[in-house]
């Protein structure tokens, strides 16, 4: 008995120390990552409330009297900014809805049906994403022009959605694959049509996937610059274009206004991600089928 204890104890102590060291290292790494990723955001947000001359002071002040002058300037001098935010919102919401709707349908098909055509088209779906966007953009220009879609919300909505539908399809397929097929069968026996099965049974259980897709598409569409620059001029212009104009102003970059613009630009995506998180966490399929 004592023998066993004397063998076990040092071992246990060593293990406990090792466990503590691991926990400390893990915490440090965690803090480092948070600082690393949060620092630029914090820097931008704080700076947007500082006087112009305080922004580049070194070392930076943590405590200062906030000012809203850059936000006022953004609203009065860069009158395009807030209307373009509305455009950004229309385009981002539109693209998100379109991409999600398409991906739910196609993800369901890829998950539940199999044939040679479908197997082949998976490769094609992925391959098209490998091209640099600019390669796709330029040949599109005359097409968009001919369709009289230049400088409309629709062109950006369709482009952004198309750009993401392949990846979102794969995401939805992965999520739907995890839903047991007996649920589909139970629905069919209960008298559901394929569409009813998809929307009443499958989709509510794949909401995590939908939320993930929505975040990807929304954040991308909200921040996208290249397509917006090429295909919009006035009417459908989005907010990132204005932010870049602030940066490239002939009078030199007004950093305070730039930071204010970026801060405003950050708000909706932050809200969306926080909202979508609810779906990302919940494990909804638990308890449906056994084993």
């Amino acid at each position: 008995m004592t023998d066993a204890a004397s063998i076990v104890l040092p071992n246990m102590a060593a293990r406990r120390v090792a466990g503590t060291v691991r926990a400390i290292v893990r915490t440090l790494l965690f803090v480092l990552i948070i600082v690393w990723s949060a620092f630029p955001i914090l820097y931008v947000v704080l700076s947007s409330f500082k006087q112009q001359k305080e922004i580049f002071k070194y070392p930076p002040d943590i405590i200062f009297t906030p000012t809203f002058e850059h936000y006022m300037a953004l609203a009065t001098k860069w009158t395009g900014f807030f209307p373009t935010m509305a455009n950004s919102l229309i385009v981002a919401v539109g693209a998100t809805l379109l991409a999600c709707a398409a991906s739910i349908l196609s993800g369901f098909v890829y998950s539940r049906y199999a044939n040679r055509f479908l197997a082949g088209s998976v490769l094609y779906l992925i391959a098209i994403r490998l091209l640099p966007p600019i390669v796709v953009t330029l040949p599109l220009f005359p097409v968009v022009d001919a369709l009289k879609l230049s400088d409309t919300h629709i062109v950006l909505i369709v482009l952004y959605a198309t750009f993401w539908v392949s990846l979102c399809t794969m995401i939805m397929k992965t999520f739907i694959d995890k839903i047991p097929r007996t649920l589909d069968e139970a629905a069919v026996v209960d008298g559901a049509t394929t569409m009813q099965t998809l929307f009443r049974v499958i989709m509510p259980l794949a909401l995590q996937g939908v939320a993930a897709c929505a975040i990807f598409v929304f954040v991308f569409s909200w921040n996208e610059y290249l397509f917006a620059l090429i295909f919009t001029t006035q009417h459908a212009k989005t907010a990132p274009l204005i932010i870049s104009e602030v940066m490239d102003a002939v009078s030199g970059t007004n950093w305070g206004v730039l930071f204010a613009g970026v801060t405003v630009q950050l708000l909706p995506v932050t809200l969306l991600v926080m909202l979508a998180q609810r779906f990302l966490i919940a494990g909804l399929t638990a308890g449906s089928v056994k084993g």
């Binding site: 007996t182 139970a186 069919v188 209960d190 559901a192 056994k290």
Partner: protein, 363 residues
Amino acid sequence: MVAINIDRFVKRYGALEVVHDISFDIEEGEFLVLVGPSGCGKSTILRMVAGLEEISGGELRMQGVRVNELSPKERQVAMVFQDYALYPHMSVEQNIGFSLELARVPKAEREAQVKRVADILQIGHLLERRPRELSGGQRQRVAIGRAMVRKPQLFLFDEPLSNLDAKLRAEMRGQIKRLHQTLKTTSMYVTHDQLEAMTLADRIICLFDGHIAQMGTPHDLFDRPANVFVAEFIGSPTMNIVPITASKAEGRTVLTLAGGGEVSLPDGTALPSLTNDGNVLAGIRPEHLSDTPTPGATARIEGVIDMLEPLGSDILVTMQVGGATLTARCTDKGQFQAGQNLTLHFDPARLHLFDSKTQMRLG
């Protein structure tokens, strides 16, 4: 009256044929059980009847009408799945009422129907819960409720009890039996558990590798198994089956075991005509072997006790005799000891003989 005709069913997956030309009928109100080992095609046949699996060959008729091309809904079947397949995002009430909702039954009537079913199954107090908040037995009841609420023409069960523990399984088995006695809905029930088949069935179809091994009442299968497969599959503990040689000596029939042991049959025992020069397989159920002679003419067999497995009031006695192993189920009065010599008695009428090559029943 015949409710369902299964006429020459064939199922192929590509080049692989898993159900071979199977035909049987189900009577109106009958409880038919498909039983057989894993992979023999029970679920496949059930799913072909349900409309979840395409019928590769043959015809399914309900009330005399071909329904091969109809959807499960149009066939008016309801199914209870092995893994329950409850909708996890819906409450118990919504789960049970889903089919009615799809059929656009008005809300008030739907609620009344759900309540009726829930009361029968004693899950009325669980209606607000989600499936994950239920125990296994409760989930099973919800699954049955979901099938019942539609008042189907045909109930299909695919191993509905196999996920439950032994005690709950026995309880639910009783519930299903009682339910069928009340509702009298034609039912087709798949299981690999022979006990479930024996207790529930009006009629059993025993499947082997996509073929029907035997079809009949539980008594038919138990008392007159058509072949070695059914003999071994039905009944627990398993029937003793040993190779023997039957010969006539001085007008009496003597059965010789492969290892030299002998079974003496009483005078005047009539055996069916034997094949392969009397080299046949003999089968006797453990419960038909007894350590005390019963009145009348009994057959005897002598050996040495090898192992004892007490079951409470009964005991399983395993005996070595002439190279063969026999198990007997006897009343336990503490009379047995391993290593003892033992004489077992049985009624020759309980003896089953099978052809050693074709494995088919003789006589």
